[in-house]
Symmetry: D2
Subunit: 394 residues, 4 copies
Amino acid sequence: MVSGRQVESGSGPIRLGMVGGGQGAFIGGVHRIAARLDGEFALVAGALSSDPERAKASAAELGLDPKRSYGSFAEMAKKEARRADGIEAVAIVTPNHMHWPAAKAFLEAGIHVVCDKPLTSNLGDAKKLAAAVEKSGKLFILTHNYTGYPMVRQAREMVRSGELGDIRVVQAEYPQDWLTERVEATGAKQAVWRTDPKQSGAGGATGDIGTHAYNLARFVTGLELDSLAADLTAFVDGRPLDDNAHVLLRFKAKGGKAPAKGMLWASQVAPGNENALKLRVYGTKGGLEWEQEHPNHLWFTPFGAEKRLITRGGAGAGASAARVSRIPPGHPEGYLEGFANIYAEAARAIRAARAGAAPDAAVIYPTVADGVEGVAFVEACVRSSRKNGAWTKL
Amino acid sequence: MVSGRQVESGSGPIRLGMVGGGQGAFIGGVHRIAARLDGEFALVAGALSSDPERAKASAAELGLDPKRSYGSFAEMAKKEARRADGIEAVAIVTPNHMHWPAAKAFLEAGIHVVCDKPLTSNLGDAKKLAAAVEKSGKLFILTHNYTGYPMVRQAREMVRSGELGDIRVVQAEYPQDWLTERVEATGAKQAVWRTDPKQSGAGGATGDIGTHAYNLARFVTGLELDSLAADLTAFVDGRPLDDNAHVLLRFKAKGGKAPAKGMLWASQVAPGNENALKLRVYGTKGGLEWEQEHPNHLWFTPFGAEKRLITRGGAGAGASAARVSRIPPGHPEGYLEGFANIYAEAARAIRAARAGAAPDAAVIYPTVADGVEGVAFVEACVRSSRKNGAWTKL
Amino acid sequence: MVSGRQVESGSGPIRLGMVGGGQGAFIGGVHRIAARLDGEFALVAGALSSDPERAKASAAELGLDPKRSYGSFAEMAKKEARRADGIEAVAIVTPNHMHWPAAKAFLEAGIHVVCDKPLTSNLGDAKKLAAAVEKSGKLFILTHNYTGYPMVRQAREMVRSGELGDIRVVQAEYPQDWLTERVEATGAKQAVWRTDPKQSGAGGATGDIGTHAYNLARFVTGLELDSLAADLTAFVDGRPLDDNAHVLLRFKAKGGKAPAKGMLWASQVAPGNENALKLRVYGTKGGLEWEQEHPNHLWFTPFGAEKRLITRGGAGAGASAARVSRIPPGHPEGYLEGFANIYAEAARAIRAARAGAAPDAAVIYPTVADGVEGVAFVEACVRSSRKNGAWTKL
Amino acid sequence: MVSGRQVESGSGPIRLGMVGGGQGAFIGGVHRIAARLDGEFALVAGALSSDPERAKASAAELGLDPKRSYGSFAEMAKKEARRADGIEAVAIVTPNHMHWPAAKAFLEAGIHVVCDKPLTSNLGDAKKLAAAVEKSGKLFILTHNYTGYPMVRQAREMVRSGELGDIRVVQAEYPQDWLTERVEATGAKQAVWRTDPKQSGAGGATGDIGTHAYNLARFVTGLELDSLAADLTAFVDGRPLDDNAHVLLRFKAKGGKAPAKGMLWASQVAPGNENALKLRVYGTKGGLEWEQEHPNHLWFTPFGAEKRLITRGGAGAGASAARVSRIPPGHPEGYLEGFANIYAEAARAIRAARAGAAPDAAVIYPTVADGVEGVAFVEACVRSSRKNGAWTKL
């Protein structure tokens, strides 16, 4: 019955701006709730839409000062940087192709960036963005939100502490069904840009959700990829990007051990699957299984012993999970809480930066390097698939 | 992929105060997150603890203006009522016995009340509180938070629309395990007051969680109780209140139909159960099953057809669920989101009251009458159990 | 990958007769498969139906020697007893009211009896049958088949070895839905006799499935009942026997400990439930949960530790489960295998008796005493319910 | 409450012999139970082990006439063929490399063959065996037992009737954990031959369980494989055969539609997995999911509608499932019942052959052609893997 921690620091919320996320968007609202949940951020400015009318209406709906509702991210970066009470961080929640120019503008204006995934729509932009972050000295947090779930942190900790032994097999999958039919033809905003190479980049399901699955596998196992073999398919007629990705994985060997191998399946045409991200990791001493739709549970299966169900906050869940839990076991935490944990970690890092303090090693969030890796993964999948599934390095 | 609604109204947050919920408390933090989640409330004042030092430290941690951190709820009610920017609503999150005096003070000061359950520690106080609400003309929202879950709303809607036919059997249960041992002897704050009749009232598990299960059963089925037969037990040596309640239920007949019957089990000594509230309802045409630990799912079992799993936001989930959902299916919403829905409904009601508008019939929250019913349930259980399980009216 | 034991003894099958179980019956076919599964029994005689034509046709279908297809159980008992190769045991699979006269005839003829549950249609017959067994010196095996499941044996063993500590709470339930409508009015054979007091006795759902749940609770916990309070209902218009039973249980104290308490719910009008027998047992040190529809799994929840899923044949499953398992873990065994375990135990007992050997203490099967207890339970439920749920001794 | 069918034909059991399956074997016992379950076969002869002592002891344990316990399959084939009451069919349950010579002997002796999978240890033998079957005119039944499960039949029927639309994605997996450590070094019989290329053939996990998964995918979907890309690994040091197989699948296009694709994972080193065969099939109109460890359930997820859980014998389960079910829904049938369904189908075919009748089109069992396909699959996996995962035709 003991709750974990709550941020709720009294030293004043961090001033946040947002690019994208106007009416009709999905992930912008998620970022706002996540930023608000622990009382760590106050949304005070926005360039919420490239459509001026929509931008204005969206800002009004959110109660933003109309003067801080901007017509473009460039204007917002410039003007906010000049204000004494200007934003300290910006959340970029546009389609992928806008991540790089928007991030560049804010980093150059000395503003920390929280950015949705995938990092960019192509690897060139991704590398430039990584360089810009390096140059700026500002913080960059990529919202691979699934790494914020307590039981994902728990899984990572168990792998690191050796409870699974040497990892052999990694099975990652992320099936959905919402693109089973050609919904983009109806003009549905979420579908339109995700199936448009100009806005999304070279990967469809691969970029939108495959990157999540790949990031999760890396985050939990700590393994580095050696190469992959991919078979990407656009099952729906007239869709220019893949809606199904079948990928074989080979990881780099660690310490003279046999290298681990894996499979990754991402699909948006698998009826009955809503958001069924799942990770299974098997080592010489045991296995772990975690499903995003039941995020408070983690199966731990030590070889030769009973299967164990570790629950968030329950026995067997350690400090790394407790750190990002808010309420007792049995009181389910969900997607928004996991997402909010990325913001909570961002808040800790931003406050430390505010105070000129060294970063806290316990603070964990996906970085621009993780983002470059993700885009490299997408492009390697596309290259491999074009070469009929040839093994391809990132 | 279409999200439900988001409150996020731009017309300025509702000014909220809090009584109780200082450091070491559990439910106060939950109320704060719930109030904050949709951006509808701003916590601006508090009487966070009866211990002045703890009250001050808690207020500082939350960033409250020190002048609005009060030493008592009485002082807070008086002083806030005088401020032009005084609180519009107060959240009362103390142990049960303080609900009535605190609520009385705020209602009399013309301030809306959000109050944790059970309503009061005894039926006399409950009735006085109901009268005080009536007299005040202010809003009173009881946080039977489980009624905020979208799939609970969905279940209620399905019963009302006749999809189950005439209800015959209602099985409610709420097992936990955190009081399996005599943890109150260690001074654990949550356990101490919950096992103390002076603070909790006559019911232990019955009052703490049995009321939730009973309220949920009423909320979903719309049935009224005729009588109950209870067998309450304190299994842990030296515990003055029940930690396990076995209750048989008889509901009133509706429209000449055979009356429904049910069972209710509440336990805090059932190892392996974290917060396993579950409701099953069976009628002449079908059944429903819902579990709090997997709140995004609702089983619907029409007689003679395949079992159907309705998911929050998925096919089969209707408007009553969508109204209180924030994100698409497959992205799990949890306890905090459900709790926040009570605050979102409260916000709608308070804003309507602000505007002098008539209440919106679509707004649903547990009322003081539900609270009276809950306390009556506890006391009826105690009376029945003392009479060796005699059938007892509320 | 090591299988458990297989009976498959080479010393010749036990000659078996059957009373009831002709065409249109359900449980007769189950008994035949169960008897055959381990190769321990050979069905060689039958009085398969009270309808001579059906008896003859059924015997032909089963390949019985027409001379050993009898018109009545009395004739069969008499004639088989005279044959050198006469049956050694009989399976009685008629409606309940015929169990006593049939069993009496075979016991008096010196033939072992395997009998379906409940033991008889009334307690008077049950006691007479117990006396007849005693007098005859023959074996009597009651097919409370759920006690044959390996994980039920495992659960029993864990309670006995103290892994749960002192038992506090026992929750047994057995919901079905096949009598949701008045199917007996259509002439469906299974429904007709089960809802007819003359054939079934005083209990409907209570006798048909409540006795299974009660027997299972006793078998696993080893507790004795002190008293019960029952609320029986016939929800379907015109049905003379209960189709739903709500029962509170109080067990006798063991060794100065606080007595355990429980609930039992049996229903045949709960849509969506096929055969959902479930037992949950909670003690001072841990809990167990088992569901008939997933019989190869047993949850063990030691207090303060991770939940553990014990699988049949897997780690954590001990000798008592292995003894009645045939195949490795992950290869699901089901209802027929569990039922066959009762026959396998019967075969061991009968072979020991054949050999004049002392009974093997490891052989476990439900006895006539368990049957008397079951009928007493039914009648106590009926008495209690008629007295408005008064606490009633068996 | 209506049971399905029971074979139990009265016209006398089919006389069966067995090759292999002596003491210490696993699958032999399974075959015997499966053959016995419906009373259709009588085991009357055997060459139960290549070790004469073990053969004799095993035969005695099973109650075989010592004269019909043979020292070799060759002797058995010859001598049984001469007897008037000789065996009509033989079950071959040896390690893989013996299937071909044993089958040849019995086919040439005019005896029907039931044979365990994979068909043979290499494709050359497989093709010779197919020719021998053709030439003999005798029946050949391969025990891909998972095709005997009622809900697998149901799934196949639903695909055939178009309820899923055009199939796009097939995900098959079969993880186990029993070879996580080098158990073959301890001499464990089951592990020794399965990891020995001379006895098993070129595939380890691929042959032992990958063939099951592949066969299941073909059986349910009716798709034909175009090519595969495989990455086989022996994770355990010193193991000459793969213990993990990662395979990408491309099926042949049907009727101008886009070809389906799939993944297949077979592993014997995935801790926590006992026998977790699972098949998921997704089409333009809906999906199906089935797990061997919960075989009585089938998820059907029509796109845009609620998920539906079809249960064996329940609503939504059709004639193809009922045909191979024995007991009502909620009474779980398991592995042995599914295996027995292969024998039940074999019995129907053999009885038709006995009677000189044409084969019944409703009778379904895996044939020698399915076996050739399976061995070709194993060899294609091995070839592909040796060519670094090149796409390879069967």
